[in-house]
């Protein structure tokens, strides 16, 4: 199917779209995308549908293929297999300078020799739009991103956050069907980043733009996205809403990459796993498995009062939380996050404790390695 789909024409693609009702409203469709550099496969079987107005994040460590996927969608690189379509139309034959796709680069890539207004008007100028219309469109979009007063500045005179807004305005003025953002916050300092993330998400949502956003920062992904695609070694491990990815990670890799996690060995029988604290969780697996729980899903009680006990080896008060590390009887370190207000006093290192799961159904069960 992979090979034949890539060769389908525009009309045939439309037929395929009708056959799959879920994709009827998607603006961007990526099907079984593959990309190799020499003998190295950097992307394989990547399939994503992005709906109108949706923000999807490609999340993964460096080298996982997320930027490669972005560059293939933008048209900077040609995939070796698979299909990309925008509004149901095959995008692969469309040259890079005609794709209805706007890219915000990690470095922003503003033209240093043009003023803010010239930067923003560049795309319209390349399209041969009359000067007066360019000026009007530029003024409008600069007002939208609150940079109206900076139209005649050079990019070097702007702060990092302002430069980012120019980069965003520069592509939005062209009304792209898909907005691609490559780690747009990595050049900003941590304090500014949080505010900019919310601002950018609100702007994209307000304008109803379909966006794909690349990051290696899981927190950023959880804040920005409607859905997150977690990538690993050129493949998409899971694509789901942020809460879903966090609460029900599809694989151990996802659980490990998104948020903090604890893993321990268990065994599955008769469709269920009996966890260390005696509670059970359902599974389709049998035999040796790995159980996973988030630190905040584990409750600590002083003293030995249950089957799952251990000793506190580290405690760190972090704002409203206390992060503990508990060495259990079977020699595993378990991370626990407790709300400070829940506890009368912070447990000290060396204290004997009993662990239990708050909600066993939020424990994930994965095959053993």
């Amino acid at each position: 199917m992979d090979a034949s789909l890539a060769e389908l024409s525009w009309d045939e693609m439309a037929g395929v779209a009708q056959a799959a009702p879920a994709s009827a409203t998607s603006v961007l469709q990526v099907r079984d995308l593959e990309k190799r550099f020499g003998g190295t496969v950097v992307l394989s079987d990547c399939t994503i549908d992005v709906a109108e107005g949706e923000i999807v994040t490609l999340l993964g460590p460096s080298g996982c293929g997320k930027t490669t996927l972005l560059r293939c969608i933008a048209g900077f690189w040609e995939p070796d297999g698979g299909a990309i379509s925008i509004d149901g139309r095959n995008a692969l034959p469309i040259p890079v300078n005609r794709r209805p796709v706007g890219v915000v680069f990690q470095s922003y890539a503003l033209f240093p020799h043009m003023t803010v207004a010239q930067n923003v008007g560049y795309g319209l100028r390349m399209r041969g739009v009359p000067k007066r219309q360019i000026a009007e469109a530029v003024a409008r979009i600069l007002d939208t991103v609150a940079l109206g007063a900076f139209a005649d500045r050079w990019p070097a005179q702007l702060s990092g956050g302002q430069q980012q807004r120019v980069a965003v305005a520069r592509v939005l003025v062209l009304e792209p069907r898909v907005l691609l953002l490559d780690e747009p916050f990595s050049a900003l300092d941590a304090k500014l980043r949080g505010a900019m993330q919310m601002d950018l998400r609100q702007l994209i949502k307000r304008l109803g733009i379909t966006a794909i956003f690349v990051t290696h920062d899981q927190e950023e992904a959880l804040i920005m996205s409607d859905r997150i695609a977690v990538m690993r070694q050129g493949r998409i491990e899971q694509i789901a809403a942020p809460e879903e990815v966090f609460d029900h990670p599809a694989t151990a890799y996802v659980a490990d990459f998104v948020g903090a996690s604890n893993f321990w060995a268990a065994s599955a029988e008769n469709g269920k796993v009996v966890l260390s604290d005696g509670s059970t969780v359902a599974t389709k697996l049998t035999g040796p498995v790995r159980a996973m729980s988030r630190p905040h899903n584990i409750r600590l009680e002083a003293g030995h009062g249950g089957p799952w006990t251990g000793t506190i080896t580290l405690h760190r008060p972090v704002g409203p939380l206390v992060d503990y590390v508990v060495r259990t009887m079977d020699g595993i370190d378990i991370k626990v996050s407790a709300l400070r207000q829940e506890q009368a006093r912070i447990l000290a290192d060396g204290a004997e404790v009993t662990l239990s799961l708050r909600d066993p159904s939020l424990c994930a069960i994965y095959p053993a390695d």
Partner: protein, 308 residues
């Protein structure tokens, strides 16, 4: 060591001066260079200039000074030979500069878009000619362009021409030689500027709808303005004041400003004329350099934006 410095006030003064020269602010670190420049350039040039504005009479071995005169300058400015010679020098220098830009920019662009090996090759090929002297390279052109040279030999072998073309000892030989010899001086500043560019800027231009040509015209070319300014100024200065290439490839009849000064000073021993010619050469060169600097300044005002 500190004790001895305190004992001898002269040593103390010396080491204080040394400190200023090595790590001082403002003009201090440039003092040694300025002294050297004054001794080897400013003073000799001053002496030469003074010859151009003093009336010297040599009468039977006796030299008499007759004071200040503008005669040499007015003579030069009313002499049509001067005008044609300087005009020729100016045309030659401007044409050479234009040729160097036309041939040099594509090389620098290739450096920008090329891979690691292309870049290495371009650098080696650009710098290698600089390792030999200009005279050697000029002689190489004599061999290539001469009556029995590579160019004529090939053309005659192919039957394109029957008689060898007369290239050496013409304006064309001088122009070809100058363009080749000064090409690296244009390419290197261009490469220095282009290699610093963020490559995603070109991708951004393409993403915003520009064709390759559009990106070159509206983004890469304007962004290389600092390099174009430097390269243009260097090539112009070198070719406007050049002596070796016109002398050898022009065959001794080819008169540009530098060869004219050479003849005035060495053959006809008219030092006053030579002095005035040198002054005109220097001033006209400065005028063009000032024009280049003004245009470049305007085109690169964005590079000083953080100052504003």
């Amino acid at each position: 060591m500190i004790a001895s410095a305190q004992q001898n006030p002269l040593t103390r003064l010396g080491s204080a001066t040394m400190d200023k020269l090595l790590s001082g602010r403002g003009v201090w670190p440039a003092v040694p260079a300025l002294i050297a420049l004054t001794v080897v350039a400013v003073i000799p040039f001053g002496i030469l200039l003074s010859l151009g504005f003093t009336d010297i009479l040599v009468n039977r071995g006796a030299i008499s000074w007759n004071g200040f005169t503008l005669d040499f300058l007015t003579n030069a400015l009313t002499d049509t030979l001067y005008w044609t010679t300087f005009r020729r020098s100016m045309t030659l220098a401007l044409t050479t500069t234009a040729l160097c830009f036309l041939f040099g920019y594509p090389v620098a662009y290739l450096f920008l878009v090329g891979g690691a090996w292309t870049r290495r090759l371009i650098l080696i090929l650009t710098i290698a000619p600089l390792l030999t002297s200009g005279i050697v390279r000029t002689y190489a052109w004599l061999v290539i362009l001469g009556g029995r040279g590579v160019v004529n030999g090939t053309l005659m072998q192919l039957g394109v021409i029957d008689q060898p073309l007369r290239i050496v000892n013409t304006h064309w030989a001088v122009l070809i030689g100058m363009a080749q010899i000064h090409l690296p001086v244009m390419i290197l500043p261009l490469i220095a500027v282009l290699a610093r560019q963020d490559r995603s800027i070109e991708e951004a231009s393409a993403n915003l709808g520009a064709s390759r040509l559009g990106t070159l015209r509206h983004v890469i070319l304007p962004m290389s303005a600092p390099g174009i300014g430097t390269g243009t100024a260097l090539v112009f200065t070198l070719s406007y004041t050049t002596f070796v290439v016109p002398q050898l490839l022009g065959g001794g009849n080819y008169l540009n400003a530098a060869t004219m000064i050479y003849e005035q000073v060495v053959f006809s021993l008219e030092w006053s004329k030579g002095a005035v010619s040198s002054l005109i050469l220097m001033l006209t060169c400065l005028v063009v350099l000032a024009a280049i600097a003004m245009v470049t300044n305007h085109l690169t005002r964005w590079t000083r934006a953080h100052d504003a």
